[in-house]
């Protein structure tokens, strides 16, 4: 099995049904995606698969064979933070931070589809659980990142 993660190719010899999360975490030492529930409820394990957010705890690694995976570690472009990451810093979004890698990737995917998301768009896309309660700041940061990207284009 081949995985293309954060710009690097990896050969993997694991059970096809192993969730992508555990191939990343325990086989490749890519720890950004987090375990939170194991049943695709919380979103802490989110990665981008060909640009789409997937909950890697419930996604068999075999389905990602040969495809492009981006985890939070691979989001910045050669050290330059993605606009969403920068907005997360500017608005001091994280508290414990455990869910935030997944939240950020979901926001990146949302902005790709909808560069100017409404609050309803954000509600529909951002279904992850944050126990610290950073939702209000996440919303603010997404709008800020959208403005930032809009200003550039």
């Amino acid at each position: 099995m081949k995985l293309h993660v954060n710009g690097k190719n990896h050969e993997l010899d694991v059970e096809p049904e192993m969730p992508l999360l555990w191939a990343l975490r325990d086989e490749l030492d890519i720890k950004g995606p987090k375990y939170g529930c194991g049943i695709a409820q919380c979103g802490a394990c989110t990665v981008l698969l060909n640009g789409e957010p997937v909950r890697s705890c419930s996604y068999p690694v075999s389905s990602a064979d040969g495809q492009k995976v981006v985890s939070i570690e691979g989001l910045a472009d050669k050290g330059k933070l993605h606009a969403v990451q920068q907005a997360w810093i500017d608005h001091q979004v994280p508290q414990c931070g455990y869910c935030q890698g997944g939240q950020i990737l979901a926001a990146v995917a949302l902005l790709k589809k909808k560069p100017k998301p409404t609050d309803q768009d954000i509600d529909a896309a951002m279904t992850h659980i944050c126990r610290c309660g950073t939702y209000a700041r996440i919303r603010t940061a997404i709008h800020a990142a959208a403005r930032q990207a809009g200003g550039k284009s």
Partner: protein
């Protein structure tokens, strides 16, 4: 640097490029750690390149004190904050240095309020020594020199020397005995909203949590604990998995069974196919109704412990017309996003621990006692926590990890609980059944109040500590110290002990008792036909503490436009409480439709923590307290059947999400003169403010939680 032990270096090396983020400097530009750095005192290293290391000796779970505690040192040190890097202190360093760093636990919202004095003095003492060293070099009196931004300047001559140039001499001086501290009114760094030092590493995925520990040869453990609390595994048949790929060992340790493998998923999957017979003990048939009866019996208990006894309450109640109400708050799970996790490595004469722990010193003692070795042979590295909420202070997971590691010497073993284990083997926020009885005078003010609390004791059941006069202070919190002018107050406590394990849950007794106290007060206000805010203010006497209640009530009421007309169908409620050394108040505005959907139009929540060290972080804690609180208020409830917890994951233990997040406005009204906590207290006034708003909206008084049991749901924001 001398506090980096061999094992720490190993870990940093293994973590590779991400190592620096774990304990070394978070946002500030990295400069190589100079070998000739000088430790001015235990908290502060100064390097020749002018970079400054400030040590942080508590833990971080998102409460932000890894930033705000060092801010207090930096304020007194007079250093350029951009040159500061924060280094976490490992627990064994504290032990080795005779606890020079004091208490390391992050519990009870007490990092700032309990350590502000010695942190500020550490910064001030170092500054005094640096100034003295400069004065000696200049050949002048120290009083003629001034420190600022990492430089000491002799104003008359204009001569200056940097901290980097002075640190070596300063460290040789005798530390001052008299250490005057700045008046907080003159702060230039503390009191400002500064970015947290760890957020940049969070958003890039560099920061490593307890779950992210990776060591050479490390193995993973998944466990199954007895589904019935207190049960034991009798027979374990692992024949189906013994030869399965990656499985290293299946271990029966009685209270739990562990599968150790080369990948956590393999361990967890194999565990499902291990056949385990459990001896449930005597609790295998216990259910919620039976537990509730234990609480009910507490209401009629004849010899309760007395927590407060002003005047002659029972006589006053016997002479008047009694208003009576019963309130119930349920068991709750913590459900931190990161489950319990601990990595342990046992070699012949050494035990190394990497854990997500709120109390690294407890981790160290728990590990040493489990392994039955001297504490000096244990090293503990507290990792960034994916939430703590009070759950990661008790050390059950540490003991388990050590017990497993001792079966496989020489290999680091990372034990992580599944979400299901976490939810079903929590140390639950205890339920509490409270009966309130009061009589009122001619103008509707209470002249007697009897509070009977029927609840477990955290101190007795969890901490096994003796109770003074039989009273658990958390169980009676906010009743025993209510500020209201009620001449006759009796608070008594009937301790309840069931087989359900209990623990400290964010805001602890203040997460539930304010709901009772402040809703009951609202009942009395409405019975008296008075405005709930005016009624509260009229009951608060003129003393220092009650004046803080008045002050925060008025600040929040003003911010919430209390008294101004609301749109049709929208109603508001108010409450105030003090806890964790801070004073808080909350106003909620709600409307409720015919389907029982509660729309929260606005929440205004405020705190007076005395001093606001990092206001934006306080703001974040208040916002977070609202989410944590609303989740519990609407849905939180553990139920029991066949001796075990019925809930198992987020599908049946519901969490609030983005689309339900209401508008929250925060008020930080720091009046100075005292130091209060900020992580927990703001949750306290939320439930009663909401309950009171619901009464205003519906005429129905909610006296038990969660709201889902009353046919109420949270409408999308």
């Amino acid at each position: 640097m001398n506090h980096l032990s061999i094992n720490r270096r190993l870990f940093l090396q293994v973590s590779g490029s991400t190592a620096a983020t774990l304990s070394l400097g978070f946002v500030w530009p990295q400069s190589a750690v100079a070998a000739d750095s000088t430790e001015v005192n235990a908290w502060i290293d100064i390097h020749p390149d002018e970079s400054v290391v400030i040590r942080y000796a508590r833990t971080e779970m998102g409460q932000g004190s890894r930033t705000s505690a060092p801010m207090l040192i930096a304020e007194e040190l007079e250093v350029d904050w951009k040159k500061v890097r924060i280094v976490d202190v490992p627990a064994h360093d504290n032990l080795r240095r005779k606890r020079v760093y004091g208490d390391m636990a992050s519990v009870g919202s007490r990092t700032i309020r309990n350590s502000q004095d010695y942190l500020r003095k550490a910064g001030a003492a170092a500054r005094i020594m640096l100034v003295e060293a400069a004065a000696q070099r200049f050949g002048v009196s120290a009083s003629e020199c001034k420190a600022s931004m990492g430089m000491v300047v002799h104003s008359a001559s204009g001569k200056k020397l940097s901290y980097g140039q002075l640190a070596g001499d300063a460290a040789k001086l005798t530390p001052p005995k008299d250490i005057p501290l700045k008046d907080p009114k003159t702060w230039t760094l503390a009191g400002k909203s500064l970015p947290r030092v760890d957020i940049a590493d969070i958003v890039t995925g560099k920061i490593r949590y307890g779950v992210d520990v990776q060591l050479p040869g490390m193995l993973h453990a998944a466990i199954a604990q007895s589904p019935v609390f207190g049960g034991k595994a009798t027979t374990v048949d692992s024949s189906k998995v013994d030869n399965r790929r990656g499985i290293v060992k299946v271990i029966n340790l009685g209270e739990f069974v562990a599968v150790v493998a080369d990948n956590w998923w393999r361990a967890k999957e194999a565990l499902r196919d291990v056949s385990i017979e459990w001896d449930n003990g005597k609790n295998g048939a216990v259910n919620s109704a039976q537990i509730m009866q234990v609480y009910r019996d507490g209401l009629s208990h004849k010899e309760p412990a007395i927590a407060r006894n002003d005047g002659d309450t029972l006589a006053a109640l016997a002479a008047g017309q009694v208003v009576e109400a019963e309130y119930y708050t349920p068991y709750l799970a913590h459900a931190t996003m990161e489950p319990m996790v601990c990595t342990a490595m046992w070699t012949e004469n050494q035990l190394d621990i990497w854990a997500s722990t709120q109390n690294p010193e407890s981790t160290l003692t728990a590990a040493a006692s489990t392994a039955d070795i001297a504490q000096e042979k244990v090293r503990v590295y507290a990792m960034q926590m994916g939430g703590g909420l009070g759950r990661k202070s008790p050390q059950d997971f540490t003991r388990q990890a050590v017990a497993i590691a001792m079966q496989i010497p020489g290999k680091p073993i990372k034990l992580m609980w599944s979400r299901e284990e976490d939810m079903q083997h929590d140390l639950y926020r205890p339920a509490s059944l409270v009966r309130m009885r009061a009589t009122v005078d001619q103008v509707g003010k209470p002249n007697a109040l009897h509070v009977r609390v029927s609840a477990p004791s955290l101190f007795s059941q969890l901490l096994r500590m003796p109770l003074q006069n039989g009273v658990d202070q958390q169980a009676v919190a906010c009743f025993n110290d209510h500020p209201y002018a009620i001449p006759n107050t009796l608070v008594d406590f009937a301790i309840r002990t069931t087989h359900v394990p209990v623990g400290f849950w964010r805001t602890v007794g203040h997460s539930q008792n304010p709901f009772v106290r402040e809703c009951f007060l609202d009942e009395l206000a409405h019975a008296a036909g008075q405005d709930p805010l005016a009624y509260r203010l009229s009951l608060l006497p003129d003393n220092e503490k009650a004046n803080r209640d008045k002050s925060i009530l008025q600040a929040v009421a003003k911010a919430a436009d209390w008294g101004k007309p609301l749109p049709k169908g929208v109603h508001r409620g108010i409450a105030s409480v003090d806890g964790y050394g801070s004073w808080t108040a909350c106003v909620c505005e709600v409307s409720v439709n015919a389907r029982g959907e509660v729309k929260i139009h606005r929440i205004v929540i405020g705190i007076d923590p005395g001093y606001a060290v990092n206001p934006d972080n306080i703001n974040a804690q208040l916002q977070g307290s609202v989410v944590h609180g609303l989740t519990a208020i609407f849905w939180g409830e553990m139920t029991f059947k066949d001796g075990r917890v019925e809930q198992s994951n987020f599908h049946d233990y519901r969490m609030m999400r983005m689309n339900e997040m209401p508008k929250v406005e925060t008020v930080i009204a720091a009046t100075g003169g005292f130091w209060g906590g900020v992580g927990e207290p703001a949750q306290a006034p939320l439930a009663p403010a909401l309950g009171n708003a619901l009464f205003a909206a519906t005429g129905k008084r909610i006296r038990s939680l969660p709201l889902k049991n009353h046919g109420l749901s949270l409408a999308r924001a």
